[in-house]
């Protein structure tokens, strides 16, 4: 009886052991295969081991548990968990990879922006430099113009001064600025009555005029004689011409070359006052000395063709 019981128990034990062995055999299931494949995939990617080592080890541990499990339900569960853990490891590694790429791109973008800004700054600097150069050149031009204007002004001032000088030197001759030039008038009182001879009173004025002309050798002189309307035109023209020539001769005697002077007798033409009064007639009897502007020719600045 005891023997039989023993045998019975032995059989039960054998059955249980058989069940365990069967459980081991059932390990070859689909879920486990998938878990192994996914884990192998994770393992084959070097960056997973490098960037997600803990997650990969967790997956390995769970996979080992699945392989060591005996019940199908447990194997399925552990395989599922192992496969997901392997996928998590892959995802973490991929994120790390993307993160590195993002960092690299961020630096690249910064570099480009920096370079662009430097280029922009360089361009602005060049623009400013070119503007400055233009400004400098404009300033120099303006300064040159100013100097030229100053020179012109100085020349004009000099010309005015010359006139003033001449006027003060020969104030008796009533110098005045006209469009023909500076005109001096020698009045009738400086000549002998009805003669071309200059009286002593004219000498001082003529000396000063000669001095002025010597100082300004670029100016030529027209000497024009005029009379009142008393007497024939022929007589008057001859008298006025002779008086003009007398003035020219006096100036020549004071060192003014003859070719700088041109004489003409206009007679009673171009009166400056009425011939109806003795005073007016005296004013009309005169010699006008026209000091031409520099460079002008005395022979070409007459008062139109003299009448017959």
């Amino acid at each position: 009886m005891r023997q039989r019981t023993d045998t019975g128990l032995k059989w039960v034990a054998a059955c249980l052991a058989g069940l365990l062995v069967a459980g081991c055999a059932a390990k070859e299931n689909k879920a486990l295969d998938q878990a192994r494949a996914t884990y192998a995939q994770a393992q084959s990617r070097p960056n997973v081991a490098a960037d997600a080592p803990l997650a990969l080890r967790d997956a390995a541990d769970t996979l080992r548990q699945a392989e060591q499990a005996h019940e199908e339900e447990k194997i399925n569960q552990l395989s599922y968990l192992a496969q997901r853990k392997a996928q998590i490891a892959i995802a973490l590694a991929e994120r790390e990879e993307a993160q590195k790429e993002a960092t690299r791109l961020g630096q690249e973008k910064q570099q480009i922006l920096l370079q662009s800004r430097e280029t922009e700054a360089e361009r602005a600097r060049q623009l400013a430099q070119s503007r400055e150069e233009k400004l400098k050149s404009a300033k120099e031009t303006a300064e040159m113009r100013a100097r030229e204007a100053e020179v012109a002004q100085a020349r004009a001032a000099q010309a005015n001064k010359e006139i003033a000088q001449l006027q003060s030197q020969i104030s008796e001759l009533k110098a005045r600025q006209t469009e023909r030039g500076i005109v001096l008038t020698l009045g009738d009182v400086l000549f002998a009555f009805n003669k071309a001879k200059l009286l002593a009173g004219a000498q001082r004025s003529l000396a000063r005029l000669a001095e002025f002309l010597r100082e300004h050798p670029d100016r030529q002189v027209r000497i024009e004689g005029y009379t009142d309307n008393v007497g024939s035109q022929q007589y008057n023209k001859r008298l006025s011409g002779r008086r003009a020539k007398a003035v020219a001769k006096a100036l020549q005697a004071r060192g003014i070359p003859a070719d700088r002077m041109f004489t003409v007798g206009y007679g009673k033409q171009y009166p400056i006052a009425s011939n109806k009064t003795p005073g007016g007639r005296q004013l009309n009897r005169r010699v006008e000395i026209v000091i031409l502007n520099p460079g002008e020719k005395a022979s070409q600045h007459g008062r139109g063709a003299p009448a017959k």
Binding site: L81, L92, I112
Partner: protein
Amino acid sequence: MRTRCGRTVFLLGLGLALAGLAGCAGKGPPKASMALADKAINQAQENDAASYAPVEMQTAQQEMQAARTALDHGKYDEARRQAQRAEVDARLAEARSRTAQTRKITKELQESIATLRQEIERRQNMQK
């Protein structure tokens, strides 16, 4: 001798069988597993997994729902299994969501760099 040997084998087998049963059968509700799964799902949601890894996220939530249903019916083993699955699926959803977001940033940076390069080239051509 024979008998003793047989008894030993028997006891060993019985012990193994009991141990196997104990391993499978949890004692009481799987509070820890449920809590871990809940935490993993919350963390995934905080990382916009619903937008960037919707399939994984849905799987995790369905498993969590299944775990709760099993718990309500007193099926503690089933509840534990579903909770464990929900946890790993939620963690996978979170990891993939973060990866997708980082890749999106990478793509945006690439586009921005390309635009920048074009802009610089255009300006250089304009200057020439």
